[in-house]
């Protein structure tokens, strides 16, 4: 039994809108399915009951085991508290193979859960058991270690609840909230507006105190001490008891409070000085420790914090009481739990000896023994929510303290006998202002109710109704994606927006290419959504990326599906039928926001059928105004963009508005190129869906043409003297049919084509492509590429020749090796009036080659194209012809 191709589908995918792990299970011949199943049931009976029940196949099928692995993984995740449900299996070509899919919450946990599920099966096969409990403990630990901590998690949850997209930028707690130019960042309880200067001030307790004093916020008297001796002198000046602490520092490290004796003060000085050279001696304030959380000029929460303590039972030693208390599951070793473990370390022991106790002392029943002076949660303290008790005047002072330090989020520490009376009355004072305060004590206080702190932080960062999104337009389909994508980008640029665009040629931001290669996948989309200079994102969304990783965005505003046609890439990734392909192309349609629009090709039945999947509204486009899909849609008040008597018309129910005549729209070559009309309708439909006014759509459509500069390699028409060369990328049957249709309408004498089929397509597709070409062109230059994508040399050519035999025509066939050689030969053989279609694969290289030849031909009228082509190939180290 093998488990392979395990991949993480991080975004919405063909199976689910949730992230999922996908993989393939393969059964070896003679796999002892029944024995393995029996072993599993014997070893993990409870788990297996849940996993096997209702699997609709017998154990000899791979599909059965795919179900088992997926369900096991989900069960394992659920048992550590993850909220996941989806587990499914799907058949593959051979009955010995099947695909499994298991939903996950946390990437690392999800991946490990699937691994663990496979390990359980493999171990059972080998007659071994795994220590399931130990594995679950490890899985839980992995989950704790990799998921967001409670503070950041609360902020992320609050953002998501408001529809703000959340993305982790690191393994830690740095989050991107929102997309593109609208994005903000948080890192634990800091926002991107938390001032570095303010943090530095908060770190300096003396400076903080002096600033607080300037606005009349009460602070304890005191000053820095350079030596233990001076600390004692200061202590006597300001009056006992005193607090001794490092001037810089956090979490109460090195702080000693309530010091009354010379020895205590001098000892505390030594502890503090180890933390930081600067030590502060302050008046000890009588009362309790309170932490007030100020967010964006508002008091959001307050907690009463108590130092760690144990209560005697008359029998146990203090050490035993501590050990007992540490069994409390609420006490953990990290920040993830509500309480931290108690510690009997140096500071704790010293504290005990001050009370005349030791770790072996047995306190009386009910006697409370304090283990530490300070009340920080991280050293075992507890917190009680007192938000509702805070006197408004106290709240005002806390807000002022945060403001004068300059922090947008601050934890303000107050010592006062009580918090429900003004400080003037209680004599309380503020002792510290903390940047990046811990939120745990407010989210999950030891006592009292938790406060909506994450929500408060999000509300302070984003105005009401602001979801920090930028418009996202996703364009998918078999053909026309790149042209449509670039057309939509053009419409947006006309509106003065900074466009981020991904397509098969690269990633562009404001027209500048920031990455090259095929960028039609989710990683590229995420790059654009993370770019701070992007106002609107237009994504060419190709099949490959969606299969590999799912979508790169959560929701889009517009999803365009150009066509599915006869499909492409069939036979790859276990997708054999165009209907399956259509299901993948429908993923962006499923992820249109409720306020968004799907722009669908009404003339392609598989695309038109996606309409019900769209959570938003639908705009159909069609070259045929009478299309039944359009007519029905309009009858129920829907929108469509159609061609009517040579005009492009925006139809909104019964209302019709003329955009322009096709003859005015350069992309369509005066209405001659059918597939460009469709691309235009799709792009204008997307613009309309985004609410662009008709004037803007018209202007955009009038100013967008397909040339080498705007859409390189997509129906670029180049003329030289009397001959025409069309450069295009199309390499599937639908695209070729569309191209032949377009070429038929263009003036020419003989037509020629340079072509090769991609080796990773099905045999029947390659034959079919050649059949179309052979039936239409007079001369065909075929070549085999260096990368035949897994096929043996010569096979692509053999299949194509098979197609030419079947074709309804008898073209002259010229066979060469290499794209440029083929193009060079074809151009060398151009006669006046010829029309040559060059299918370009290495787009930039080929474009550069062809345009270079023509430039030279223009400037050097003596040389023939054949000579120039031969010379150019020779210059590239190739032999012409």
């Amino acid at each position: 039994m093998k488990f392979e191709s395990i991949r993480l589908l991080r975004g919405a995918n063909r199976w689910s809108d949730q992230p999922a792990v996908e993989g393939i299970v393969t059964l070896d011949p003679g796999f002892p399915a029944q024995r393995v199943l029996a072993e599993l049931e014997a070893r993990y009976p409870e788990l297996l009951v849940r996993v096997v029940a209702g699997v609709p196949h017998d154990a000899t099928h791979a599909l059965f085991w795919a179900h088992v692995v997926a369900r096991l993984a989900v069960e394992l995740e659920r048992s550590i508290g993850a909220d996941v449900t989806l587990a499914l299996a799907s058949p593959l070509d051979a009955p010995s193979e099947a695909r499994f899919v298991a939903e996950y919450c946390e990437e690392a946990t999800g991946r490990r859960a699937v691994e663990l599920a496979t390990e359980l099966v493999v171990a059972a096969h080998e007659g071994r058991s795994l220590d399931l409990n130990a594995e679950l403990v490890r899985l839980r630990k992995l989950n704790e270690d990799t998921r967001l901590g409670p503070s950041t998690g609360a902020i992320a949850d609050a953002a998501r609840a408001r529809g703000i997209p959340v993305r982790r930028l690191t393994d830690g707690s740095l989050l991107q909230l929102g997309y593109g130019a609208q994005q903000r960042r948080v890192w634990a309880a800091e926002t991107d507006r938390t001032s570095a200067i303010a943090e530095a001030i908060a770190q300096d307790k003396e400076l903080t105190k002096s600033l607080l004093a300037t606005v009349g916020v009460p602070v304890p008297e005191g000053r820095p001490a350079a030596s233990a001796e001076e600390a004692w002198t200061i202590a006597q000046e300001i009056g006992l008891p005193v607090v001794v602490k490092p001037q810089k520092g956090n979490q109460g490290k090195g702080v000693s409070v309530g010091l009354r004796t010379r020895a205590a003060v001098m000892g505390a000085f030594e502890i503090a000085v180890r933390r930081d050279g600067q030590v502060l001696v302050e008046r000890h304030l009588e009362g309790s420790d309170f932490r007030l959380l100020v967010v964006g000029g508002k008091l959001v929460a307050a907690a009463h914090r108590e130092p760690p303590r144990v209560v005697g039972d008359g029998r146990s030693t203090i050490a035993a009481l501590v050990a007992l208390e540490n069994q409390n599951p609420l006490r953990g070793d990290d920040h993830a739990t509500a309480l931290s473990k108690l510690r009997l370390d140096e500071i704790g022991l010293e504290m005990l000896s001050e009370q005349g106790l030791g770790p072996d002392s047995v306190p009386a029943r009910g006697q409370s023994v304090v283990l530490r002076r300070n009340a920080n949660l991280s050293t075992g303290g507890s917190a009680t929510d007192v938000t509702d008790d805070v006197h408004p005047a106290v709240a005002r002072r806390a807000i002022e303290a945060a403001r004068v330090v300059g922090l947008d989020i601050a934890g303000v520490d107050l010592v006062a006998p009580r918090i429900d009376r003004p400080l003037e009355e209680t004599g309380g004072a503020f002792v510290e202002v903390n940047a990046a305060p811990g939120l745990r004590m407010h989210l999950e206080p030891s006592h009292g109710r938790g406060r909506a702190v994450g929500e408060a932080i999000i509300d302070s960062m984003f105005a009401r109704g602001d979801d920090a999104r930028i418009p996202i337009i996703a364009v998918t389909g078999t053909n026309g994606k790149t042209t449509t994508t670039r057309f939509v980008a053009h419409l947006m640029r006309q509106r003065g927006l900074r466009v981020g665009l991904t397509c098969t040629d690269g990633i562009y931001v404001e027209g500048r290419r920031i990455d090259t290669g095929d960028c039609s996948g989710p990683k590229s989309a995420k790059m654009v959504l993370g770019h701070p200079g992007v106002d609107v994102a237009v994504f060419e969304t190709a099949r490959g990326g969606m299969l590999r990783e799912g979508l790169g965005f959560d929701w889009c505003d517009v999803a365009v599906v150009t066509n599915v046609g006869e499909g492409d890439h069939l036979g790859m990734n276990g997708i054999h039928r165009v209907e399956e392909l259509a299901a993948i192309k429908a993923i962006p349609v499923r992820r249109v926001s409720t306020r968004g629009v799907a722009v669908l090709n009404a003339d392609d039945p598989l695309v038109a059928a996606m309409a019900p999947l769209c959570p938003g509204t639908v705009i159909f486009f069609s070259r045929n105004a009478e299309s039944p899909v359009v007519v029905r849609h309009r009858a129920s008040g829907g929108k469509a963009i159609i061609v009517q008597r040579g005009d492009v018309v925006l139809a909104d129910g019964r209302l019709e508005r003329r955009l322009a005549s096709l003859t005015e729209l350069p992309l369509t070559q005066g209405g001659l190129v059918g597939f460009q009309i469709e691309n235009l309708l799709a792009a204008v439909g997307a613009g309309w869906g985004l609410g662009l006014p008709i004037e803007a759509l018209r202007f955009g459509a009038e100013t967008f043409a397909s040339h080498l500069g705007t859409v390189p390699g997509r129906f670029n028409v180049v003329t030289h003297r009397d001959s025409t060369v069309i450069l295009d990328y199309g390499h599937n049957a639908s695209a070729l049919l569309a191209l032949t249709e377009a070429i038929r309408g263009m003036r020419h004498r003989r037509r020629k084509v340079v072509y090769t089929a991609a080796g990773d397509r099905r045999d029947e597709d390659i034959v079919r492509q050649a059949e179309i070409l052979g039936g239409f062109f007079h001369e065909v230059y075929i070549y085999e590429d260096q990368c035949t994508r897994g096929r043996p040399d010569g096979e692509v050519i053999r299949l194509m020749r098979e197609g030419f035999v079947r074709a309804d025509g008898s073209p002259r066939i010229v066979q060469l090796s290499g794209e440029l050689r083929a193009i060079g030969a074809a151009i060398g053989g151009l006669e006046p009036g010829d029309l040559l279609l060059c299918q370009v694969d290495q787009v930039e290289l080929a474009l550069e080659f062809v345009t270079g030849l023509f430039r030279q031909a223009e400037s050097r009228s003596v040389s023939s194209l054949a000579q120039l082509a031969a010379a150019a190939l020779a210059a590239l180290g190739m032999i012409g012809g």
């Binding site: 930028l169 690191t170 740095l174 960042r185 948080v186 890192w187 800091e190 926002t191 991107d192 507006r193 938390t194 001032s195 570095a196 200067i197 303010a198 943090e199 530095a200 001030i201 300096d204 400076l207 600033l211 004093a213 300037t214 606005v215 009349g216 002022e400 403001r403 004068v404 300059g406 940047a435 990046a436 990633i507 931001v509 500048r512 290419r513 920031i514 990455d515 995420k526 790059m527 993370g530 770019h531 701070p532 200079g533």
Partner: protein, 727 residues
């Protein structure tokens, strides 16, 4: 000769509109020995401090002070000039000083400009020693004294980057206050304030700084927005560093994952030994270690402020040139003797050191520390060369845009972008250049004082980034000066502004408060209290009481004010027009001296000594008087001036020849009956202050009506009765 006392006047004072040090100096026997009577004094002094030739002194020409020395001047005057020169040599140029005799023979007041009292005082005391040494024909250890003063300046004065920003702010009329002994400075007052701390602003995000500290994260984020960065990864140990180097392709750069300022960085490492040594060197910085592909070219630093690339510096590797005589070690020592080199970050060049990396680099050049390179041979010591050449004018627009995008992506408003390129005047992509680091709180000195090329106004750029056009960070400051009348006037004006909707910070005899909130009660130090108040981020107007004692003993709390109200001098009027001002008048006038050109002085025309301050006001002057017959009124109004005058129970607003009723008799009388003050002049002062602040008559009236419970115009007979009741 001895210094009896030194007073730091931390704000505008009777000598100047800026902080000064005022020393009382007793010349002792030198009262009878001016410089021309001290043989060799002038020559000794000029030998030690030849730059004194630049001091113009009262002559107003270069060499003016030297002329005075030769013709004979008292040592108090010499001490003033020597102190100024020491301040200049040890820190920053200062040009203001005064030496004045006192009523006591042989005792002088020596006054020098000084922003930091501790530094100024040290310069003064060093100056005293120097002058005495010159007078007594002793030697003086000038070099070591200057070094000591420089060290002190480094410790107590603002650092050069902060100083550049503060100076730029001052140029734009934005006030500043130091908030700590370090470089934390407040620009602007009260609610309009911003803060800086070296090259950070209060808008510099802590998160962005953390990101910039993490080179790996920085690189990931930059790459994701298409900014070219060198490929590389974090490595676990020396062996892994070498493995990474082989993967990436040699040569490589090895540096700490966290940190900045080039510490622990080694570049262009070609072999295993160098890479492993560099790993150790980087690991010593305490964070993880990153190995990156070496990007060929020179290193540049581009300073981004807001949305603009403001300055760019370039430099070469550290190198020495052989002379065929000295060893490499000796050549280094020679280079290090250049005073421009030092360990200090404020210094232009860092000291050259032969550490392991340098030795390794020498080895690759076939040299050792003891080798004697041939004359003219360039020997590379280190590749993270100092950035000493201003190349701002060569910065390609595309590179500038990339740097701005990098800063933006990290989230920094001010960033120093380190990049490597063959040529900064061409786009990075075209030449395989890359951004290697983004630094928060970048040093500005290389742009302020490049060794070669033009200095760049980076302080100005930062201030312009923080304050929009026309913004000065100011809120209304009303200085209330005077003798016994001023205290009540201050109280009334505070309430007046509160009624007008201001959150008022106030210092007066009762204490220090903001709004209703008391910060201190009792008659506190006016200037210290005022300075504390100006820090308050909630107050959007200030009423600061100024007394003769506070001006003389501390200087003013503020640099400029919107309105200076002077109520009274409470002393006999000057007898003749050409009588100089009394000491009290001179002190209180300090407030009028610092009225902003857009502001105004409100002056009591009933007190001739006060009225005479009008000539010193750079803004408008609003006089107030209990009678139209007050002598200074006529001339003031004749020139189109403004005045608030009591006439027949009413308060009139006079503008040139125009007269309008501001308050009718009933209102004014009602105020005097119901308010805190019964004296007419206190109310007139408040009204004049309102006019000086540009309040409308309506706003002034509503204060009286709403806040003082005065009845609006009622039947005439009642009005008359009210007026007579007051008498």
């Amino acid at each position: 000769m001895q210094v009896r006392s030194v007073t730091a006047l931390k704000g505008p004072n009777i000598w100047a509109n800026f902080p000064v040090l005022e020393a009382v100096v007793d010349l002792g026997k030198y009262e009878d020995l001016p410089t021309d009577k001290l043989p060799g004094f002038t020559d000794r002094l000029m030998e030690w401090l030849p730059s004194l030739i630049e001091h113009r002194c009262s002559e107003g020409v270069r060499g003016g002070f030297l002329h005075r020395l030769r013709t004979g001047t008292w040592l108090g005057h010499v001490l003033e000039h020597v102190t100024l020169e020491l301040e200049t040599l040890a820190h920053l140029p200062v040009g203001f000083g005064r030496a004045r005799g006192t009523s006591e023979p042989g005792v002088y007041k020596v006054v020098v400009r000084c922003d930091e009292p501790a530094f100024g005082q040290a310069c003064l005391m060093a100056g005293l020693e120097l002058v005495l040494a010159a007078a007594e024909g002793r030697t003086f250890p000038l070099a070591s004294e200057l070094r000591r003063l420089r060290e002190l300046a480094d410790k107590v004065c603002l650092g050069p980057s902060t100083q550049a920003i503060v100076s730029a702010a001052r140029e734009r009329g934005i006030p500043h206050l130091r908030l700590s002994a370090g470089n934390l400075v407040q620009l602007g007052y009260g609610k309009a304030q911003r803060r800086i701390w070296t090259a950070e602003t209060d808008g510099t995000a802590a998160i962005a700084e953390s990101i910039a500290q993490d080179k790996e994260l920085t690189r990931t984020l930059l790459r994701s927005v298409g900014v070219a960065v060198p490929s590389g990864r974090v490595v676990a140990d020396a062996a892994d560093a070498w493995a990474a180097a082989e993967d990436l392709g040699l040569p490589v750069v090895v540096k700490p994952q966290d940190g900045n300022h080039g510490r622990g960085v080694s570049i262009r490492l070609e072999d295993r030994g160098a890479v492993e040594a560099a790993f150790q060197f980087a690991a010593n910085e305490g964070s993880g270690v990153v190995v990156e592909r070496f990007v060929p070219g020179a290193q540049y630093r581009v300073l981004v402020v807001g949305e603009r690339a403001i300055a760019a510096s370039g430099g070469d590797a550290d190198q020495v040139t052989g002379d065929g005589v000295h060893t490499v070690t000796e050549l280094l020592a020679l280079a290090n003797s250049d005073p421009a080199r030092g360990e200090d970050s404020a210094q232009l060049l860092t000291t050259l050191v032969l550490d392991e990396i340098s030795l390794e680099l020498l080895r690759t050049q076939g040299l050792g520390a003891a080798s004697v390179p041939a004359a003219g041979r360039t020997v590379m010591i280190r590749f993270n060369g100092d950035l000493t050449v201003d190349v701002t004018d060569r910065l390609h627009a595309d590179v500038a845009a990339t740097c701005v995008l990098a800063a933006r992506t990290i989230g920094l408003d001010i960033a120093g972008i380190d990049l490597i390129a063959e040529d900064i005047s061409r786009p990075l992509e075209a030449q395989g250049g890359a951004i290697i680091e983004v630094n928060a709180s970048p040093g500005l000195v290389m742009h302020l004082k490049p060794l070669h090329g033009k200095p760049r106004p980076v302080g100005e750029a930062i201030v312009d980034h923080m304050f929009g056009p026309g913004q000065t960070g100011r809120v209304p400051v009303v200085a209330v000066a005077g003798s016994h009348r001023s205290e009540l006037a201050a109280t009334i004006i505070g309430r007046f502004l509160a009624t007008a909707g201001y959150h008022v910070g106030q210092v007066d005899a009762e204490g220090v408060r903001v709004g209703e909130h008391w910060l201190a009660r009792g008659d506190a130090s006016r200037a210290e209290g005022g300075r504390r108040l100006l820090v308050n981020p909630f107050a959007n107007a200030f009423v600061l009481h100024v007394t003769e004692a506070s001006v003389l003993g501390e200087g003013l709390a503020f640099d400029r004010c919107q309105v200076a109200l002077v109520t009274d001098l409470d002393e006999p009027a000057p007898q003749a027009d050409d009588d100089g001002p009394s000491p009290r008048a001179k002190a209180l006038r300090a407030a009028v001296d610092v009225v902003l050109p857009s502001g105004a002085a409100a002056l009591n025309a009933d007190d001739p000594g006060v009225a005479r301050m009008a000539a010193h006001c750079k803004g408008r002057v609003v006089l107030f008087a209990s009678t139209l017959a007050a002598p200074p009124l006529a001339a003031h109004l004749a020139q189109g001036g403004e005045a608030v005058v009591h006439d027949s129970g009413r308060a009139l607003l006079c503008r040139g020849s125009e007269r309008s009723e501001l308050l009718d008799a009933a209102t004014l009388a009602g105020a005097r009956l119901s308010g805190a003050a019964t004296n007419l002049q206190d109310w007139l002062a408040a009204v004049a202050t309102g006019v000086a602040l540009g309040m409308t008559a309506e706003a002034i009236r509503s204060f009286f009506v709403r806040e003082l419970g005065a009845r609006p115009a009622e039947p005439r007979e009642r009005e008359g009765a009210g007026a007579s009741a007051v008498g």
